[in-house]
Amino acid sequence: MILSPAERSYLYDSLSVQPPVRPDARSAHQFRPIEASCSFLPNSNGSSRVRLSDGGEAIVSVKTQVVLTKNESSLISIDVDINKERDDSNFIKNLISSLESILLKKFPIEKLKLTERYSFKVYIDCFILSHNSYPLGLLSLCIYLALKSTRLPLLTSTVNDREIEEQPTFNDDWEASKKLFEPSEHQDDPPLLFVVGIIGNNVFIDPSNEEEEVSENGLIVGFANGEIVPPVQSTNLSNRDSKGISPKHILKAYSMVRNCGKEVVKALNTVVSSDDDVFTSIY
């Protein structure tokens, strides 16, 4: 992303004014419009697709496998793949580590336990078709939708198979499957990660490609059931020299993420409930 010095200084000045004038006139806590749909991959337990207005698009599929609990180090495995990019680049490793740091802690592990000896292993495969800005926010929204739309087959064999050696069997009627994240009971929702850009003493959410290029620093803030949760990391969104982060920035970012996080969760849940089970074509 190359900007001319004139553009760069224009953007920098516009964004450092209080309140920041963003190039597309968004307010500091406003997201870019998103096009999203879920459960469109027939052979995955849960799937979702999210597309941003700047052309960034991600597809996430959640698949489960019955495994022996004892020989599995972790029951959740996350894998990110970016179209036309080498899959061992550090960019991808950082994405995976940020996602893992939040998902592994905030995951209803007890839902995955099937019987004493067997449990579900969840494979979250993310595929980024194209991205202009830093794709972590896009990915986290997409994973949220995929997890909410994941359905696990109902166990029909006995639960305590400690003594009698028995492979778990399932009811193969798809309707009978139960959701990983039941909307009804007061169970909490999957976590989210938000990217916040920082310029001067302004903080703004969901930075676009140009805003990232001009921003002095960036923050990744975790959010789950209305609260700020770790990880909270600073990341340099542009490869130019970055300025330090003051506690003021962090507090501002916290308050912004806290209140717009609730809105985002509400909006995401409406998407999940609206097209629950129809495998429509997505384009």
Binding site: A25, R26, H29, S274, Y283
Partner: protein, 345 residues
């Protein structure tokens, strides 16, 4: 306090009925005088087997049969037949007023990205150099090319000529061309820009806009142009304030030669005016959203339509809401209806 709007992907512009309807031979409406199809033609389709037509872009021929090579509409200009593709990259024509971004500094030339099939070329010989029009080129110019234009710089220029393979050669040998500053850059598909005589306009709210024919648009603060006599006093004041006494600024009209010399390094300066007010910035942002509305609804972009869209967008006090898809579509329909009512649509 709307934070986020998530919509379900509806397949744009398709009625949902099953697309497998048997391909009935839908009646083909023909253009009255030339007898050519007015509907879309697709690659490999026989356009005409009448040998009088000369074959232009987007077609190929075998003995006397002419076939279309792209999916698009047929265009006939006194016996030259060509097919214009619905979508495609910008095809430069001589005399086009375009905006480009410097991609590479080469030997006595710059490579400029204009969103076309190939990068355009800007020769060192076809730019205004500091010190006015009369100065001769010297080796020192070749050495300090980067002080004039470097990678990433935006400039507006005119297509001087075309190379044999279709690449464009640009020139900025007039005062209205040069480096762009004090504004923001937007990109739209080049097929949406309606060609007209003049592509740089002044818009209400003290904004000037350059509609590059290649779909690159520059919206900037209206810097003291003395053609616009109404607020010339304020502009002059601003210009004086800004240029610490030097009169000259790009896009400014005629000036005596000596003044041109000592202040001409200004035309390649990278610094914006220091005091671009907040209202100017939010007006520019609103115009950016209006242009994105027009592009989203695939409406041809003209100065008149941008102003109509801008006025229609005033209904939404917070310009940020203009980025939502439904709002875009209402603005688009307002523009079209507005035009139909005025009858010059």
């Amino acid at each position: 306090m709307d934070v986020i709007s998530i919509i379900r992907p509806k397949v744009t512009g398709y009625d949902e009925e099953d697309s497998d309807v048997e391909m009935s031979d839908v009646e083909v409406n023909l253009d009255k005088d030339s007898g050519l199809k007015t509907d879309v033609v697709t690659p490999g389709e026989l356009v005409t087997d009448d040998p009088i037509w000369m074959r232009g872009h987007g077609t190929y021929f075998l003995n006397e049969k002419t076939y279309s090579a792209v999916a698009g509409s047929i265009l006939k200009v006194n016996r030259l037949l060509s097919v214009i593709p619905l979508r495609g990259r910008y095809q430069p024509e001589t005399g086009d007023h375009i905006i480009g971004r410097i991609k590479e500094v080469g030997h006595k030339r710059w490579k400029v990205d204009i969103g076309g099939k190939q990068d355009a070329v800007l020769m060192l010989g076809s730019v205004n150099l500091p010190g006015g029009v009369l100065r001769r080129k010297s080796e020192s110019d070749e050495l300090q090319m980067r002080n004039f234009l470097k990678e990433g710089d935006l400039l507006n220029a005119e297509v001087q000529s075309l190379f044999q393979d279709g690449a464009a050669s640009l020139h900025t040998r007039s005062l209205k061309y040069g480096k762009l500053r004090n504004g923001y850059f937007v990109k739209v598909p080049s097929s949406l820009i309606v060609r007209s005589k003049n592509h740089s306009h002044q818009l209400p709210g003290n904004i000037s806009i350059i509609l590059g024919v290649n779909g690159y648009i520059w919206i900037s603060k209206n810097v003291s142009s003395n053609f616009d006599s109404t607020n010339s006093k304020t502009n002059k004041h601003e210009a004086k304030l800004v240029n610490h006494g030097k009169e000259y600024n790009p896009g400014q009209g005629t000036l005596s030669i000596p003044k041109l010399e000592e202040s001409s390094w200004e035309i390649y300066s990278d610094k914006n005016d220091p005091d671009i007010s907040e209202s100017i910035r939010s007006t520019i942002a609103r115009y950016v959203n209006c242009i994105k509305c027009l592009s989203h609804c695939e409406i041809g972009i003209t100065e008149q339509r941008i102003v109509t869209a801008y006025e229609a967008s005033m209904a939404y006090e917070n310009a940020g809401s203009l980025i939502d898809v439904e709002v875009m579509e209402n603005i688009g329909s307002d523009v079209i209806n507005g035009e139909k009512m005025r009858g010059n649509g």
